[in-house]
Point group: C2
Chain length 243, copies 2
DNA sequence: TCAGGCAGCTTGGCCAGTCAAGCTGGCTGA
DNA sequence: TCAGCCAGCTTGACTGGCCAAGCTGCCTGA
């Protein structure tokens, strides 16, 4: 009995063509061998070759023009999920004692914005968990987690110990659904009095204020993550295709 | 002779299944009819059915589990490109005389950041085109376009007339390449003296400062778009899948 | 009783071939 | 000469069939 794993033929062809494009053997703009040439070279049937080329096209490696051929675009500059988005990163982040200080964890009245994101009435009770993250000696970020109180009860989210795992996992197991997507809201503002103290910034400082609402596949919001970043210490980066 | 267009069979099947999911006929979590049932109902061969279902899976409508079946996830909450990203929107935006005022258009020494994004030496000459966008009576946004001088020469970008079309199109035809993706850099800061005047904000105001670098498929940067937004008048929104 | 195996379902992968649509370059006939 | 046609290439769409892998429930034999 053997447990070796051989990837499907079409996947092998994908890998080989990607390698040739990266190595410069198939330079950008040049035509790929035709389907029949690839069939002959790799000993595959046409649908197999076509499937591989279809994946390469969907992933941006090549373009195809009916009647002309397929042409190399180059290595896709955007490998999806290359540098993770901020909200996504917050969802997975673990609280590391040496850099994270818990400020509060417990029930509060939901601010209007949070209630709106979570689909609650204004002033409903929610659980707020707030930490300050340090970089070196300086405080560099205030991270807040907001969620419906019934979701946090009895979980590590409402306790004052460091979170053993990312918020995303905790919420998924507490809510019994998978988180599907994130909606981010971003703005710039001056600090509140509390934030001046926590971050050690001037009243006139410019802060990035980012809310990340994590929803399940049906669009229902389960948790809101907020991070407040001094603009002079942080720059957010993001990349996406144009079409 | 007829010029009617009939979409491919697999596309018709995709549309029909999407319709049934949206209508509630196939509720989230329920199993889809098996491949053989769909073959019988729609009179298609198996690969045709499989292709349609593969597209639906790639687009997030359904998931498939080998040995069990395919299951409805629901309408994907994120129709890609649903609300266009800021940098992308800047690339397409036209200058409307009633809301846009041209501040400057011509050669300047490239600031360090711009030179770095465009891959130029520090202090190289670049073309800067800067406009103030009004919303109602108030100035609400400063938009700047930076690009290599040889690209802008002889085009509408270096002229003081309103742009007849989006910056993206102009750059693509001037550079002779298609723009492929955008890299965004975002931070918060206080206004410069010039920006205080143009936007009519206090020295302590918090501004969103967004740079969008538009690159071709090989990763070469062709144009940098910058927008400066008072934080109290703007909120950026974005959504993306978690996995 | 109940563990194990097997039949029958599902999806995944692959093949050989057909027809249609679109492009290109060479040939042909005016 | 040169406009127009057409052969021969390309990719796109589709068919009918095969075998493998994985899951589930029934059924059989210890």
């Amino acid at each position: 009995m053997s447990f070796e794993y051989t990837p499907p033929k079409y996947a092998q062809l994908i890998a080989e063509i990607e390698r040739r494009i990266e190595s410069g053997e198939y330079p950008p703009g040049s035509p790929l061998p035709s389907e029949h040439q690839l069939m002959a070279e790799f000993g595959m049937a046409r649908p197999t070759v076509v499937k591989a080329l279809g994946v390469l096209r969907d992933n941006g490696w090549i373009i195809s023009e009916q009647g002309k051929g397929r042409f190399v675009r180059g290595r896709p500059a955007l490998a999806a999920g290359q540098h993770p988005r901020t909200g996504r990163e917050l969802l997975d982040r673990k609280e590391i004692p040496s850099t994270t200080r818990l400020v509060s964890a417990g029930l509060v009245k939901a601010p209007r914005r949070i209630a709106s994101y979570l689909g609650l009435d204004d002033g409903a009770s929610v659980v707020l968990r707030r930490t300050v993250v340090h970089q070196g000696d300086e405080p560099s970020e205030i991270v807040s987690v907001w969620l419906r109180s019934e979701l946090a009860e009895g979980t590590a989210l409402a306790a004052s110990a460091e979170l053993p795992q990312g918020v995303g996992r905790l919420v998924e197991s507490a809510a019994g659904v998978g988180l599907d997507h994130i909606v981010e809201h971003l703005t710039a503002r001056n600090p509140t009095k509390e934030e001046r103290g926590l971050l050690g910034v001037a009243a006139s400082a410019a802060l990035l204020d980012l809310y990340a609402v994590a929803c399940d596949a049906t669009g229902k919001a389960h948790v809101v993550l907020q991070t407040v970043l001094p603009g002079d210490r942080h720059e957010l980066e993001d990349a996406y295709p144009i079409r």
